[in-house]
């Protein structure tokens, strides 16, 4: 078993912090429509899918939401509290790395493996908090036996990663290059024949989830570069590409604007054209 590059590429979306439930999640349809427009007239076959974990989070925080909502004493403030717990709870689950976090990472890995069993070239597009799950799942897979063998792209269950509006450079999440798994065999250095693993990180300078600035003050990629310095990640066989994307929607608007941004779509297009079929 392994990836067959004659097969259609699959773009697998993992969403970020959400209110509502799994039924509300349609980002894969948005990306599919935008990619179809971008690639009209060009022979680049692909399909999209989504991994949803909102129901897992909702189940984990159900009791606390109901108790806190009941404590407010009226329906409107109860609803507001439920929504707030829904959002904050999602982040808390990722930070605490407890059973729910484990369930989400394992379920996501299973979803990846479904594609691998179908021999599909798979690309992950992760948004917001979903980038943390994607980063962790991917780095675990790199370390598992039989996968990501040196320069054998067909042994890679994931061919590339695109992260959008990721909080991964924030101290809160404690992720850096030391948490990444090397794709290089022990004692071997990267050379011109090394097939690097691509990771595009798209960020809007005013996105407060990326910068941690409540006021949405402009951010640059210095913080990301400090956590993921090119010299370190490159020597581990990764091609990390941070890209400033101006969505023209400031602050929180920027955080949700990635899905419809033409340059984000171009990042995904570049990924599947370069590392997909053929």
């Amino acid at each position: 078993m392994g990836v067959n590059f004659n097969n259609k590429s699959k773009v697998l979306i993992i969403h970020g912090v959400q209110t509502g439930d799994d039924q509300d999640l349609r980002q894969h349809e948005v990306i599919r429509k935008n990619l179809e427009k971008h690639l009209a007239g060009m022979d680049v076959p692909f399909e999209t899918d989504i991994f949803k974990y909102e129901d897992i989070n909702d189940e984990a925080s159900y009791l606390i939401k109901k108790v806190l909502a009941a404590m407010t004493g009226n329906k409107i403030s109860g609803w507001i509290v439920e929504q707030a717990v829904d959002l904050v709870g999602d982040v808390g689950i990722a930070l605490l790395k407890g059973d729910t976090y484990r369930l989400i990472v394992d379920s996501f890995k299973s979803k990846i493996m479904e594609s691998y069993e179908k021999e599909e070239p798979l690309f992950i597009v992760a948004h917001s908090l979903g980038t943390i799950y994607a980063f962790d799942a991917l780095n675990e897979l790199v370390n598992e036996d039989g996968f990501f063998q040196y320069n054998q792209a067909e042994t890679r269950p994931v061919q590339g990663l695109v992260t959008l509006g990721s909080p991964i450079a924030l101290d809160l999440f404690d992720r850096d290059w030391k948490k990444m798994s090397s794709l290089m065999p022990e004692g071997q250095a990267v050379d011109m024949d090394t097939a690097l693993f691509p990771w595009i990180n798209d960020w809007d300078p005013t996105d407060p989830v990326v910068s941690g600035s409540v006021a949405g003050l402009p951010w640059d990629e210095g913080k990301f570069r400090a956590r993921f310095p090119d010299d370190q990640t490159y020597s581990m066989g990764w091609d990390v590409m941070p890209r400033s994307i101006i969505t023209e929607s400031g602050h929180l608007g920027a955080h949700t604007a990635y899905w419809n941004d033409a340059d984000v779509c171009m990042s995904i297009r570049q990924m599947i054209v370069r590392y997909g079929k053929g």
Partner: protein
């Protein structure tokens, strides 16, 4: 104290200004089959006025693409030494025109011919843009050569549709 901070944040948000401009540099390339293909180099500038911190400008959303060609360039460097340039990994691209320019673990794959930086390029300029490399193990990009691109400024991002 927390309340004062929240008020400050809200005031800063309310009075800070932000506007963005899309720059498009368009030209043409004739294929070996004598088909005309449009070229589009594109980037955005976002300008801010932030109370007490002054003016600032961010550039981003860079791309260089050719009509009907799926592969695109998107990773950039911008500085006095080489001007505005697209960088790539030597594993994926090889320089076939001129002396290779190394930037860290990257090579320069396309650039402004006379080392112009983004802040020097203005609407109405005719920009000489040079493609220096070709893809090694992936879909091809626009062939190496020097292309003349006409720069315009717009509120909306440019589009390139495949006319085939």
């Amino acid at each position: 104290m927390l309340f004062k901070m929240q008020i400050t944040v809200v005031v800063v948000l309310l009075i800070s200004g932000c506007s963005s401009v899309s720059y498009q540099a368009r030209g043409v390339y004739n294929t070996e089959e004598n088909k005309e293909r449009e070229l589009l180099l594109q980037w955005k500038a976002q300008k801010y006025y932030i109370p007490f911190l002054g003016n600032d400008i961010d550039y981003g959303s860079y791309s260089f693409q050719e009509e009907c060609r799926p592969n695109v360039l998107q990773d950039t460097v911008d500085g006095d030494q080489y001007g505005f340039a697209f960088k790539e990994r030597g594993q994926n691209f090889t320089v076939i025109s001129g002396t290779p320019i190394q930037v860290g673990n990257h090579i320069i794959c396309a650039k402004t011919k006379d080392d112009m930086t983004l802040s020097e390029i203005k609407s109405g300029d005719e920009l000489l843009f040079e493609v220096l490399c070709k893809a090694r193990r992936m879909a091809p990009i626009t062939p190496a050569g020097i292309y003349t691109l006409k720069v315009t400024e717009s509120e909306e991002a440019g589009k390139l549709e495949c006319r085939d």
